[in-house]
């Protein structure tokens, strides 16, 4: 499908204005701007989008799960119908390979259909019924029923590093729509063309499925003003964000300072500590070094699950040499934006000043936003004494730390901030010997990995992509997997309601045939 990019925001069923405030995407490989111009939304356009979303809140929240499932599948179909137009634009705006976007499109549409299946099955609402006992003494027991209901309009911020799977129709949008919440997306400045293509796919799906107009809007913006105004807007009842720690914390603070504070799900920074134990090095050092290299440099190191801290035995010279050689031999690649490149270069320079041994090539004279991968090395003592070494450097770099001391590893684990993941490479025997290390790491992360790497997040019902602050703003939940739908839902209880006034999920006859808890007993559908 060939779609001409207009560059204007999407406000419900109509397009925004061609405002005076324009910006363009960049080709990261060359650093040159690419056409066409995109127009930053005016505050009046945000207001229109918010008013529409507010008006859509009740009607969209009250249509059936099956109808929402049809809508989600239609979005997936429409994204696929964009064909190569979408893949080519995403490639142009990111310099990431074609195949990456074929895969990421699959994941994006897979997520939409996963939530559609969840809605069709219907039991996700945690429906519970406690029947009345009118003659109970000393007081009669009322009829009480409850289930999860949509939280209201959600603001979604696109991620730089997942132009499809965590952007306009990404995980947050899919789970919010699935929960019954209208969505207003703040497009990422780095891939507005990709955003517009996906946005039109959603707008068309909303029209084709006869959804309330305000169910979806997409706002372009060259600065922070629109995003901040969105989080402040009283119609917005929750926020989803993937990005930097500074940006995420700023949104958390804005949301917490509102007259009515709202839930915020920001996914921010994680250095994904990776512990490679002596037995693992001995058994398969080469394979681990190769896997680590792939995990550090994949997607030009721009994954939130990139291993940024790697703990090794003191005698792992061969492993370190092999890993460093592979880093040195890796060709430079462009990062997604000039800003990410600047942060990478500044972060690397700061780290080079902090730690001794460094494997890093010169960044000068590389084209566009390109950088070389790098590796740093330091001692456990130095690491424990230098809190800044915990800072995430977004891009293809990692920090190797040698330690042989069990107690020292425990101290390091205790010193860590919240993380998305931690990985342990070793034997099953090691898992017993290091049970204390694992118990500490468990309090710090959302996901523990044995003999694997943290990059690559399986989309499945049991996945947890989250973790204590600063990995995310809210370590209770997950951004990936079916459980993400509960982020945008809240419990509502109906007491002594007549059957006809209850949602179908709570009616006596169970017309939707879902699993429910009845009088404390779980009844499988």
């Amino acid at each position: 499908m060939n779609v001409e990019l207009k560059g204007t925001s999407i406000i419900g069923r109509s397009r925004g204005d061609a405002t005076a405030n324009t910006f363009r995407a960049f080709d990261p490989a060359s650093g040159n701007e690419v056409e066409p111009a995109f127009y930053s939304a005016a505050l009046g356009e945000l207001e229109r989008a918010a008013t529409l979303a507010d008006a859509a809140r009740i009607p969209f929240g009250n249509i059936s799960g099956h109808e929402r499932a049809v809508f989600l599948r239609k979005i997936a179909d429409n994204i696929e119908a964009l064909g190569d137009t979408l893949i080519q634009r995403a490639t142009l705006e990111t310099s990431l390979p074609n195949a990456r976007f074929v895969g990421e499109r699959g994941r994006t549409c897979g997520q939409l259909r996963m939530f559609a299946d969840l809605l069709d099955e219907g039991s996700w609402v945690d429906a519970r019924i406690d029947h009345a006992i009118p003659d109970r003494e000393p007081l009669p027991k009322p009829d009480v029923r409850s289930m999860l209901r949509p939280v209201g309009p959600v603001a979604v911020f696109c991620a730089s590093n997942f132009p499809l799977a965590y952007s306009v129709a990404g995980g947050d949008t899919a789970s919010a729509l699935a929960a019954g919440c209208p969505v207003i997306v703040n497009a990422h400045i780095a891939h507005p063309g990709t955003a517009e293509l996906v946005g039109t796919a959603i707008m068309d799906a909303a029209r084709e499925c006869d959804m309330p107009e305000g169910v979806f809007s997409l706002l372009f913006s060259s600065g922070y003003d629109i995003g901040q105004a969105l989080v402040k807007h009283p119609a917005i009842k929750a926020v989803g964000f993937t990005g930097s720690r500074r940006g995420g914390r700023a949104l958390m603070d804005i949301a917490a300072a509102r007259p009515e504070p709202i839930p915020v799900y920001t996914e921010m920074s994680s250095v994904n500590p990776t512990f490679i134990l002596p037995s693992a090095i001995k058994e398969r050092g080469d394979a681990i070094a190769a896997g680590l290299h792939a995990s550090v440099t994949g997607g030009v190191g721009q994954f939130c699950t990139k291993p940024g801290l790697v703990f090794l035995p003191k005698d792992a010279d061969e492993f370190v040499s092999s890993f460093n050689r592979s880093i040195e031999k890796t060709a430079p690649s462009p990062l997604l934006t000039g800003g990410i490149r600047s942060s990478y270069v500044a972060g690397s320079q700061k780290r080079a000043a902090e730690v001794g041994k460094v494997v890093a090539n010169e960044e000068a004279d590389l084209p566009g936003f390109s950088v070389n991968p790098s590796a740093f090395e330091t001692s456990a003592v130095e690491f424990l004494n230098t809190p800044d070494l915990n800072d995430e450097i977004f891009g293809p770099t990692t920090l190797l730390i040698r330690s042989n001391e069990h107690e020292e590893l425990l101290s390091i684990a205790r010193s860590l901030e919240g993380q998305l993941t931690a990985s342990i490479h070793g034997t099953e025997e090691d898992m017993k010997e290091y049970a204390d290390l694992i118990a500490i790491l468990e309090t710090k992360v959302g996901r523990l990995i044995f003999n694997g790497f943290s990059t690559g997040v399986e989309v499945c019902p049991s996945m947890v992509h989250g973790g204590p602050y600063p990995a995310t703003s809210d370590g209770r939940s997950t951004a990936v997997g079916t459980r993400a739908i509960t982020r945008f839902a809240r419990l509502v209880c109906y007491q002594n309601f007549p059957d006809q006034a209850l949602p179908d999920e709570l009616k006596d006859g169970n017309p939707l045939g879902i699993s429910r808890m009845i009088d404390g007993e779980f009844m499988k559908a």
Copy 2:
């Protein structure tokens, strides 16, 4: 059982110091201080409690659910073993009737045992297993498993109005301990003796059950400094609070401003709008007026679910007269604290200045903290034009508002802040006619009640005691019922873990025999 009150904080297994900063409880009926003195905890004592809680975090989080269930039941047994000593002290410190505390003790111990049963059953952890598919193309699928794990040490603030059921061993403490979190309680200044008695019951239970020392501490404080320091302390990972909007918001703001923001569950203010439709007045006006009177004046109006706004048809003169007469005839009763009395008097005076018709007796010359119940009345137009009329006045008073216009009621519903509850009195036909009203109310509340009053919260699996801000800080969850355990839990995922290193809940053989989701399919135990 006769227990001599010491007045010192409980720090793990030992007692705090008799510091220089003392305070005493009051007898609200007389307004006189009662013995003994209580000693405000020093910051060093808080530090000790926090250090102990932090040390207990992993061991207490890793004992089995069955062991935690034994502990919870032991707490309930020990509270019951306090016998009349507890009831008498609670009565002395609150001037609420004996029978109230016999009931509230039953609820408190019932909650502890409810969570114990939930732990013994074990399925609350939402265990999920997705098996590996090593030969999947293009990438192998890893083995992924996840479940809810404790969030870490929790700070619990006692409620003025529930000295047992929402205080030292109340809902927040029970659900936090059930989830596997150590608890540090900030006692309420109004009932320190009750707090100490219950605190010793928990301390003894912890020792008898051989729990880690830091699993429980109780801090006395005459001011806000200890509570604020507790919420700021890095060892604390979540907060539970029941109290005023100002106090709750202050704790929310402190928690949000921490270097590591943490989840806060504050239950604050709700005016519980009650809509009495014409049909209901016609059918059973007298019964509703009597029920409303009981709901407004029960517990001297000091329930978070007290109906503070009552919407009536314009011709409900007889109903209003009957209700007002019953308010006028109600004897004065003491409020819980001098502060609550001052707020009640000030709020009533402000309201009297705002609205025309008032049923209120003089407060002068009443003994102790006593006040008269009161009722105010205003028009819908005046209500919509005076946002302050939404303010909660904690105590035995309510505001009656007349309106016959369907559209006007919708405007009123739209104008409401977040609430714990909303009630509709009418016929089943009304539920159809006013479906639009109910749809709006649903977005504002945690619980909708048909033909009933909002006071009296059934403790059962489907109960939702929560609601959007300012009813609570976090409208996604509930403070009452089994689901409250998830407040103090977070998801943790284990990837490719050997069976022996997994928690029992996730082991292949399902040694605990719990319900789990396996490869996307719910498997009932």
